[in-house]
Structures are given as C-alpha cells and as structure tokens.
Amino acid sequence: MTQLVDYADAVRRFDPVLGIEVHVELGTRTKMFCPAEVSFGGAPNTQTTPVSLGLPGALPVVNGTAVEYAIRIGLALNCQIAESCRFARKNYFYPDVPKNFQTSQYDEPIAFDGWLDVELEDGTIHRVEIERAHMEEDAGKNTHVGGAAGRIHGADYSLVDYNRAGIPLVEIVTKPITGVGDRAPEVARAYVQALRDIFRVLDVSEARMERGNVRADVNLSLRATPDAPLGTRTETKNVNSFRSVERAVRYEVSRQAAILDAGDTVIQETRHWHEDTGITTSGRVKSDAEDYRYFPEPDLVPVEPSREWVEEIRAGLPELPQARRRRLQDEWGYADAEMRDVVNAGALDLIEATIAAGSSPAAARKWWMGELARRAKQDEVELAELSITPAQIGELQGLIDSGRINDKIARQVLDGVLAGEGDPEQVVAARGLEIVSDDGALLSAIDEALAAQPDVVEKVRGGNQGPVGAIIGAVMKSTKGQADAKRVRELVLERIGS
C-alpha cells in the first residue's frame, strides 16, 4: 500500500467531491410490509411473520405510517413528493434477505429534488442538494460463529436473526457535493448530524447512531481541479458515528491522493470502515458484474399520496432544528459565538428547558456552559447525562434570585442534587443552607465579632471603613456562609455607629 498523503497537502492539490447516502430506520410500530412488531432487543426471530420470513405465499402490504414518515422527511428536506411511485425488487442472493430480493424503491422515489442547508461549527452554511429519498426494507442480521472476529470468512457457521428484516428504512441520497475543498470532512459530518437532528424533531426515528438507526455510506472522489470531470469514487459503507464520518472522509482523501500521485487509478469499489484503526479496506469490487435485475414489484400497487394529504403533513411539520436555533437565539439574545457554543455542546434543549423552568436565558447559559460543563467534563459524560434536570437548575436559580441562597451556596446545593439528595429545595432544607436573614440571629453573631475585635471597632469609629470587612468575614464564618453579606454590612455599621 502506498504511503498516505498528508491531508492538508492532498486537499491543496485535489478537489474532493462527496456523495452521502444515509439510511434511517423509521420508528414505526410495525414493519414496512407486514404487522410484525418493531422493537429493539427482542429474542432472535421473534418479531417475524410469514411476510418478513419470506415464506412461500406471503405478500407484502405497504405500511401507511412509514409512507407518512417518508413524506415528512422528504418535505423537511425541501423535496418534491411523487404523485405516484412504485416499489421495485432488487434481486440478490444472501441469507439475511429472506426473499432473496429486497423490496425497495428504485427509479421512482417518493421524494426527490430537495436541499438542506448545513451549518458548520464556525457558522459557515453549505447547501447540500438532495437527489432523492426513497423507502425500502432492512435486511436481517447475520452472526458469524467461529473464525476470526465475527467475520464470515473462516466462520464455522452463521446465524440469521430476521427481527430486523423488513424494518422500514428511508434512504436519502445527495447529489455530488462539490465546492467544499478542505472542509469536506466537516461538511460530511455536519450533514449527517443535521439529518439526525431532523429525524428526531420529525419524530420519525429514535435516530440513535449507536443502535444503527442511522447509517451513512460515504462516497468520495478526487479531481485535479473544480472544473475537471468527476473522478472515480469509492463508497465507504456503514460509517456509524459523526466522528467516523469525518475520519473516513479524511482517510479516503489521503488514500486516493496517494494512488493518484503514484499515477494509478482509483478502483470503483465498496470499502469497509474500521472504527478501531481509522482506515478503510477494500470490499467487493463494484462493477457491472453486480446486476440486481430491478423490476417493478408486482405484489404492490403504486403508492399515490394525495396532494391534500401531503399538504396536511406539510402543515403539521414541526419547527426544524435550524429555524428553531434562529428563533431561540433571537429570543435569548445570545451572540452568534455563544449560540454556536451552546449548540456544539449539546446544551440547546437543556437551556430551553431551564428557561422554561423559570431561569433567565443568561443564567441558564451560565449554568450549562459553566459549572455544569466543567463537571460533565470532569466525569467524562454528556451534559444531558448529568444527574440533574433543567427543572432542578431552574429551581436552583430561583433560590438565588429570591435571595434565599447565594452563588457560593448554590454550588453546595448543586453537589447535593448531583449526589441524589433530592431537589434543590430539599437539599437546602436538609443541609440547612438557607441564608440567615433573621436580624436577631445576625446581631448576636455581630456582637460576638465586635467584642472579639475592639481595635477594628475603634478604627471604624475613627472614620476608616476599610477594616469593617474583617468583622463581616468573622460573621460569615460563624454563620457558615449562610448570612446575606450585604445585610451583615448594614447591621455592623449600624451597630458601630450607635
């Protein structure tokens, strides 16, 4: 294998062109073509019917909810929705495909010709053109037993679980993404991330990358200059995290640049992504030898969503992530950079909920991007994984705003909540952290302090207010910091003056 070309060098001399196919598993109750239940983690082959097992005689029927979800996705991606579209059969023999053909839309996708504006971390926006979004069914899952590392090669035998077979998928295919230059990896990542966010907001999928709900195939080719014809592409399959999408693109850029530098040609092929080593390796060669013999699925009538229905779905679409971010930034008065940091930290939902619980936008941001971010980092968890809720933060901030605790005590309350001692109110009560605002209690503490430091009293009486801090410090100490320092100061001065 040729030495890789340094990424920065590669993108100086070559223009990368991306193409991304994202599969999303829809969160429907039942499968694409039969009433078998869809849920995660069932015992193997328990979520099946004669249809999803491909038994002789079984026939598919299209899941109407899956069609609605596909239309939702299409509309969110600014696509046209087909007035009539058919499924096709993609014929190939493989044990995880029970019928030995996959029922998939082919040349008649339900949604086509759309676009999505993708925002990079620095706020740059790149428009990705969407070629199509089409419906299909998932395959079963093979487990290879024996041999090396669960691979089919060298395995003693393989087991197939058809629970996943027939789960509805929507595949979203971009047009060639050009003009991204050295930012290709970032664009690829941001695009997949933006799609994931959209799936969640649309409520069409749990969209959990780690469960394989969202899977990306990354096509990449290089060309000498942006006006040269497209180069030969490779398709890196099943890149299943945002970070991997970015890394896989970088790797392929460096690898293909090395091949081109050596005067060789890139082979059009499927490549496998290796999460552990961060490289891609050759899969099967994709060529004319691969003939899926597509033809229209004769067991299904065309899907013909009425225009009224499409408009009804459009009207019911929720606010999409980008529009929501703009609205919230406006409402909260955050600066661009502040908003980006919030989004990148995954704190948007948390802050929104905290504000809803009564906090000011500034205070909410201060909590989540400050103290809580520090603690999440320290514990190596996501913000949302901290054992504290936005409602609790809202309550905590409310205690500060009403003067019942101060900032310093708030951190102790936070400790208590994180330690599972209950809501902030409960922690304050249990730990006895409420600020002492009873003048009587304060006065006895003050008198004690004054008696202990007669020299300070003298100086203050002499007109020098500087040393009064020593008295306040002593009072705060004796009240374990639970006194309102401002009130203490007023009372001390009053006392000394009298």
Partner: protein, 501 residues
C-alpha cells in the same frame, strides 16, 4: 340411495341443508371414491382424511344444533397444492418443498375452513404451476379420467381430474395463463379465472404475481359461482386485492340458467379460432355459438390484433417474475436443503446445490429465461417490450368490450394429448395456452364451460371472457350455454365419461 359423489355441489349442499345426508356421509363417500379410483387417476398428492372427517362431524353437530351455516358448509373440497394450508403439506408440485408444512393458511383456505368445507386433500400440479399437462410435477403424472393415457391439462391437472373423476365436488385451482381453464376444457369440467384481484393471492405460492389468480374448479357453472362467492372479496393482506364487493355471481348463474340471453352481445375473437384449432374443437365452438344465438344473444366478430404477440410477451413476463418469486427457495429457511458433495459448505454453495437438486427442468428453464430477461442491458428489449405488448392487449380488450358484453373462443386449441407426447417440445406445450393467456395479461375474468366431445371422443371447452370486475357476465352466459347444452345432451357431459375402477 343415489351416489353422493355424483351430485353437484349445489345439490349436495341442498341435501345437507335439509339434513337428508350428513357431511360425514358425503365426506366419507368422497374418501371412499378417492381410495377406489385415485390410484389410477393420481389427482391427489395428499389426502387429508382425518381432518376432513373432523370438520364434517363439526359441521353436522352445528347444523343439528340449529346453527346458521354457510350455504356450502359440509360440502367437501380439494385444494391445489400451490395454496398453503396450515398443518398440511404444500409442495407446489416441487421436490424443493417436499415435507414442508406451512405455519399459516392462505386467505382463501381460511375462508373455506370458516365456512366449514371439509378439505379432502391437496391436488397434483405442474411444478410451481409451470406447465399445461401436470407432467412437470415432481410427484408423478395425473391421468385424465376420460382416457388414462392422456394428460389432464395443467398446471391444475389434479384439481380438474379430481372433479372429473368424482373424487371431489369442488376444487381450488390457480390460473396464471390458463391453468384453471385449460384443464377444465380437457377434462369436461367448469373452471373460472376471476378478475385479477378478485380472490386474494395471500397464501398462493407465487408463480407470476401480476398474472396469478385463484378460482373455482367444479362440475357446474352454479357450483363455480357458489365457490367464487365464498373465496372472493377484498383481503387487506393482498395489496392487489380489489377493495370492492364482488358482483352477484350466484344470482347471475341462476338467471343465466333460465336460458334467456336477449340483449347480450357476444364477440367472437377472430384471432382465437380457425387455424391451429382442431377441427372438432372448432365445430363444437360454432355449435355453441348457435345455441347462444338461439338463447337470444347477438353474436358478432371482433378483432384483437395484438393477441398474436400475447404468447411471446407472456413467456417473458412470467419467467421474469418467476425468477424472482422462486429465489426464496434456497435451503436456508424451509424445505429441501442440499449440501454440495465436495468443496466448502458456504451459504452460496448450499443455495446452488439445493436449487440444482430441488428444481425440475421446466422450472430451471424458466428461471434462467427470466433472469436473462431482467438482466441489465436486456431489460428494455425483453421485459420492457413485453410490458408494452401487455398494454396493447389490454387496449384490444378495452376496444372489444366497448362493442360487446363478452368475448368468446374455444378454451384450448386441442383436446387432451397423450402423456409424454409434448414433453420434449416446450413450444408446442406453450401453444396450449394461446387462447387463455390474453385474459391473464389483461387481468380480466374468464370461464371455461364444457361444450361437447371432439371427433376423438374427448371433451372440449368454450371460453367466455368479460371485462374486469364483471365476472357476473361469465356466469350468466356460461350458465345459459350449459343449460342449452345439457338439454341437447339429455344430461351433464361427465355422464358420458368412462366408468373408472
């Protein structure tokens, strides 16, 4: 007491209803008849005696308790082996499904069970319904009850032979290019291919999804109407099922049997007669036209110019769909599994070995043909062109039905040929279906009514075709013809069949 097996299903149902006979008696009579003659006919692949009798006992008990039952309750029935039946073998005539017992029932079987018809067994057929003689069954030939040296037609030779041999009063067939109607014609029985989508395909082991349709095989037109009404209607599990109720079929058959066809316009398809049709077939056809005229029908000639391409288009569309439908038979999940004799045992090699050993020659021929027709670079020339021809044939029908109410032709160009006669000549075999195939390509309904014996003493059939969803017209015209013919013969045609056993 009359021989119960000689009664029509309608007459038997009547006797059951009046409790003149019990379902157990009728079912036992059929089982006895099967035991007596099926050794020489071989219509059945599986006889379901115990369950059939249990169903019969149950129906008798319910009837005795005064329960309201389906009109056909207690009347036994045979089911073509291409239809899946829970707990009963369903091989589709193929070795690759030997021993497979489906875990579910086809929709039409569910309806049959719900209505209380004892299922006598599963009938023989060409493997995966590919053939016109039942000689392509992996389980031996079925013999035509009219002449045991001859074929019973195909692919549904078993169902037709069972009904003709009085080993079943009713049977289920499936018709992809004539597999109900052609066996009906050569065995002197009635066979109906309903409108595509009229009877659920859920649970039919698919041959060609866009052409397959299940339907009745019976001895009378009225019996077909009764069975058609039982098995037909919308099924949400079949997305190509018509979401509308059936037209009144039994009523149409009863009306037709009164013999008055005034106001009915009958079109003779000029492309489906004359050259290539056996002289006796042609003569009986013309005599039947006279009977229709005498009943008051107006008979005119119509042209369907694209029918000459029907056979060619059919033999591209069918193999293409079949090559994909039959891909699931790979030894991975059910049925036969064969490991390669030598070399590594990989999934791909097991699939190849299983398919190599499990499929017969005709199936392999069509799978290879269909795979080729769908291949990149050939798709447009073959599958694509065939679909265009299909559209043109549909248009021919549209234009014809704008002029007439029904179209008619001989059902098959010849009477039953000898077993083995055409086995090595697939093209000659395919020509048997020349008159029946256009209906499948257009999705319209058709019936074959026995209309006499040819010069060789063997039965011939008269085909009536109607527009989609107008199946009732088949029954009206078919019943009118049947009643006129039986009047001229002095009884049913099957009375003239040789005595078996």
């Amino acid at each position: 007491m009359t021989d119960l097996t000689r009664l029509s299903a309608a007459d038997l149902a009547e006797k059951l209803r009046h409790r003149e006979v019990t379902s157990v008696e009728a079912t036992q009579a059929y089982l006895d008849r099967i035991a007596a003659v099926d050794g020489s006919v071989h219509a059945y692949l599986h006889v379901n005696a115990d369950e059939a009798l249990a169903t019969a006992r149950d129906v008798d008990a319910r009837r005795a308790a005064g329960e309201e039952l389906h009109p056909l309750a207690g009347v036994p029935i045979a089911v073509k082996d291409v239809v899946v039946t829970q707990g009963m073998p369903s091989t589709a005539g193929s070795k690759i499904l030997e021993g497979w017992v489906p875990p579910y029932d086809a929709t039409l079987v569910e309806k049959i069970r719900e209505a209380g018809l004892p299922i006598l067994g599963k009938t023989n057929m060409d493997e995966f319904a590919m053939g016109s003689s039942t000689e392509h069954s992996a389980y031996g030939n079925t013999h035509n009850p009219w002449d045991l040296e001859r074929i019973p037609g195909g692919s549904g030779g078993g169902s037709a032979a069972a009904v003709a041999a009085f080993t079943a009063p009713l049977a289920i067939g499936t018709d992809t290019g004539g597999s109900i109607r052609q066996p009906g014609a050569v065995t002197g029985t009635v066979g109906v291919k309903p409108t595509y989508g009229g009877v659920s395909r859920y649970g039919l082991i698919a041959l060609a999804s866009s052409l397959d349709q299940a339907g009745p095989v019976t001895r009378t037109v009225l019996d077909s109407a009764l069975l058609h009404e039982l098995i037909g209607g919308h099924d949400p599990r079949d997305s190509t099922s018509i979401p509308e109720p059936l037209p009144p079929l039994v009523e149409a058959a009863k009306q037709g049997a009164l013999g008055d066809l005034s106001g009915v316009k009958v079109g003779v398809v000029s492309q489906l007669q004359g050259e290539g049709y056996q002289a006796g077939v042609q003569t009986r056809f013309e005599e039947s036209l006279d009977l229709l005229r005498q009943a008051g029908a107006e008979v005119v000639e119509v042209s369907c110019p694209h029918f000459e391409y029907a056979l060619a288009a059919y033999y591209l569309i069918l193999p293409a769909e079949a090559s994909s439908n039959l891909a699931k038979f790979d030894g991975m999940r059910f049925g036969l599994r064969v490991e390669p004799e030598e070399g590594p045992v990989t999934a791909e090699r097991v699939m190849a070995a299983t398919r190599g050993a499990g499929f017969g020659d005709e199936v392999k021929r069509r799978v290879i043909l269909g795979t080729y027709a769908l291949s990149a670079g050939y798709y447009d020339a073959y599958y694509g062109s065939a679909q265009k021809v299909r559209t043109l044939i549909q248009r021919d029908f549209d234009e014809a039905f704008a002029q007439v109410d029904v179209l008619v032709s001989p059902t098959a160009p010849t009477t039953a040929f000898k077993l083995g006669e055409k086995l090595d000549d697939p093209l000659a075999m395919y020509l048997n279906d020349v008159a029946t195939i256009p209906a499948n390509l257009a999705g319209i309904p058709g019936i074959s009514v026995p209309n006499g014996l040819s010069d060789d003493g063997l039965p011939v059939g008269f085909q009536v075709l109607a527009p989609a969803k107008a199946d009732d017209r088949l029954y009206r015209v078919g019943a009118a013809l049947e009643s006129a013919l039986e009047k001229s013969w002095g009884g049913p045609l099957l009375d003239r069949a040789p005595e078996l056993g």
